[in-house]
């Protein structure tokens, strides 16, 4: 499972970096989305990969190794919300720029 997750994070991140470096704003925003997926998965995995285990218990005297770490789940939730909001904001700026400059190039003008 670790290998699959690591590979998917790598593929997402690589594609994201490539897209962010492209000259069109739509490619950049797609790249940012892929990057944030990769990062969210990454944070999630930092609590160690575990299958089918509860994150929280009310009983005391438990063996922590038997439980999933709840903290990364809380962190990733926050990160998703913040990342989503700022990407949405970027989308608005992107549209404004398209309207003002008439091009979707990141520099606001077609390269000579």
């Amino acid at each position: 499972m670790e290998a699959v997750l690591a590979l998917s994070i790598g593929v997402l991140f690589g594609s994201g970096v490539w897209l962010v470096l492209r000259p069109r704003t739509f490619q950049v925003i797609t790249g940012l989305l892929l990057l944030s997926y990769a990062v969210n998965l990454f944070i999630f995995l930092m609590g160690r990969a575990k299958l089918n285990q509860a994150p929280i218990t009310l009983t005391e005297n438990i063996d922590p190794a038997q439980f999933a770490d709840p903290l990364p789940q809380a962190l990733v939730l926050t990160a998703i919300v913040i990342g989503f909001a700022s990407t949405a904001l970027y989308l608005v700026v992107l549209l404004a720029s398209r309207g003002l400059t008439g091009t979707d190039h990141v520099d606001g003008k077609e390269s000579a």
Binding site: T25, V39, I43, L75, G83, S86, L89, L94, L100, T101
Partner: protein
């Protein structure tokens, strides 16, 4: 009772701007003076709160001058802790002073163009104050995002195509930084199992080799994020475009946003990689030093190359970042204290210069074309500001004097505070290494700081001569008192720094001493007890 009141004071600099920003959204666009009044009151209250905190920290209300506020009443490594110490108080004061200045300046014109300026401004202050107060790494991320989200909106403020283009790059760079920040935070959690800064520092000492490697990787990734924000070379390409495009009061606040990156580096680096950190002591010091040196070199070349005053100020901000990072990287009390003095005076001077630029531009091109475009976009019928307020007599003399004041501080020439800052940096560099040799890195830094001062003198003088002497001034520009007064106040504070350099420097010495003895911070945070349940223990 007294104890409770004072501990809740710590969270006030975050709550005040948050509540007032939320209130400001509710008011209609018509009620301008009410909105301005509310945000002014809120900012002034933040200043007052920061002053109270300064009193409490200085009077040793909390042991060691470090106050801890457990936000959800969970003890330190588990819940989020807010920590106020001398450095945090200093930055809170700087934030509220600059906030007051920028707000005052925007009264005449910039507050009127565009919507939600004041609430965005308060959110920016909230993010800044929170970033200075928090003692938790992930909470720091959240406050960074609050600050950045507000700054995206503010850079776009006074919407025109230059600003949209600049903010497109600004937003992408900062989003990428935020992602790096998250990766770094996640790795730190993987290595140490905690996100509380004090706890991370406490755990660093006893890490095994594998986890230590992981921690170092995490720190390096985090550093990329913070150093991009503090505009270290070669990650500073975004800064001049953004700063010169933003409207003047926003650009002034952005100068402070850069310093947040420096603050974070100083805070985390001196806490986690202090001399007490065992195998991780002074990790990355060489990168900070040479990065800082490279940044100074880049900034001074940029300063020579730029004709436009906005870019001139931006490169000056870059030079100041570089100097700070390089000086901090020595991890010595005397150098850090000198760096903090430099931080205060250069931040205020560059911010004042950012505000001054717009007024100076009125001499150079009276038809402010860009502003006209802005006005059109928001369909403001009455030309604001022309009738309101009192014009400054002797506008040209004021502009010239204020320009000279800012230039002296930015270049670090006597008699103003810039000189004292640089002098104390030199003094600390040379005395700290009196018995050993300074080394070629130290000499490079010393020479570059001198050369960057000369570069600033030449570039600013070129600009000043061209503006005030060479150009035929047909008519003196009209200045409002509310535009001139904040600039005057900011420069005056720098003059006060010069006059009161002794007490200020002693305060900064204490700040630096407690920064470089992180055991006090760690113990204070981790030993803070939770408030007992008022209904009695269950």
């Amino acid at each position: 009772m007294m104890e409770q009141w004072s501990s809740h004071l710590i969270i006030l600099p975050i709550l005040l701007p948050m509540v007032s920003a939320a209130l400001l959204i509710l008011f209609s666009r018509r009620n301008y003076s009410l909105r301005f009044g509310l945000s002014a009151v809120s900012t002034a209250a933040q200043f007052a709160a920061a002053l109270c905190l300064l009193q409490l920290v200085e009077k040793d209300h909390w042991s060691g001058g470090i106050g801890v506020y457990l936000a959800a009443n969970w003890v330190a490594p588990f819940g989020i802790a807010l920590v106020v110490d001398r450095l945090a108080v200093l930055m809170l004061l700087l934030t509220s002073v600059m906030g007051l200045g920028a707000l005052w300046y925007s009264y005449v014109r910039w507050g009127r163009v565009g919507v939600h300026y004041f609430s965005l401004f308060q959110f920016l202050l909230m993010g800044l104050n929170g970033a200075f107060l928090t003692g938790d790494l992930f909470n720091l991320f959240v406050f960074f995002e609050v600050m950045l989200a507000a700054s995206y909106g503010l850079v776009l403020h006074g919407y025109n195509s230059v600003r949209v283009r600049a903010s497109m790059q600004f937003i992408v760079v900062n989003l990428l930084c935020s992602l790096l920040f998250l990766i770094g935070v996640a790795l730190i959690y993987a290595a140490t199992g905690t996100l509380n800064m004090a706890d991370i520092a406490a755990k660093t000492v006893a890490l095994n080799a594998t986890d230590r490697q992981l921690l170092h990787i995490a720190a390096a990734i985090l550093a990329v994020a913070f150093l991009t924000k503090s505009a270290i070379w070669p990650l500073s390409f975004w800064l001049p475009t953004t700063y010169s495009a933003a409207s003047p009061p926003v650009a002034a606040m952005l100068v402070l946003v850069t310093k947040v990156g420096i603050y974070t580096v100083l805070r985390l680096w001196s806490l986690i990689f202090s001399h007490e950190a065992g195998g991780s002591a002074y990790f990355g010091a060489a990168v900070l030093l040479w990065g800082g040196v490279g940044t100074i070199a880049f900034g001074l070349i940029g300063m020579y190359a730029s004709q436009e005053p906005g870019r001139l100020a931006s490169y000056s901000a870059i030079i100041s970042s570089g100097t700070l990072l390089a000086v901090i990287s020595y991890g010595q009390v005397s150098l850090t204290s000198a760096a903090l003095f430099y931080l205060l005076s250069s931040t205020l001077a560059v911010a004042a210069f950012m505000l001054l630029i717009e007024l100076i531009e009125r001499i150079r091109n009276p038809a402010a074309a860009m502003l006209a475009l802005t006005m059109e976009a928001f369909a403001i019928e009455d030309e604001p500001g022309e009738s309101a307020g009192v014009a400054v007599p002797g506008a040209l003399a004021f502009l010239g004097l204020a320009f000279a004041g800012c230039a002296l501080i930015m270049a670090g020439l006597p008699p103003l505070s810039g000189f004292i800052a640089k002098f104390s940096i030199f003094h600390a560099l040379l005395t700290e290494h009196a018995e050993t040799t300074l080394g070629y890195s130290g000499w490079t830094l010393l020479i570059l700081i001198v050369v960057s001062g000369f570069a600033a003198v030449l570039a600013l003088m070129r600009f000043g001569v061209r503006t005030f002497w060479a150009s035929p001034v047909s008519k003196t520009p009209r200045l409002q008192v509310t535009e001139a007064a904040p600039i005057f106040a900011l420069v005056l504070i720098c003059v006060l720094f010069t006059v009161q350099a002794g007490p200020l420097k002693r305060y900064l010495d204490r700040t630096a001493a407690s920064l470089h003895a992180p055991q006090g911070y760690i113990q204070q945070v981790l030993s803070q007890p939770a408030v007992p349940n008022p209904g009695g223990a269950p």
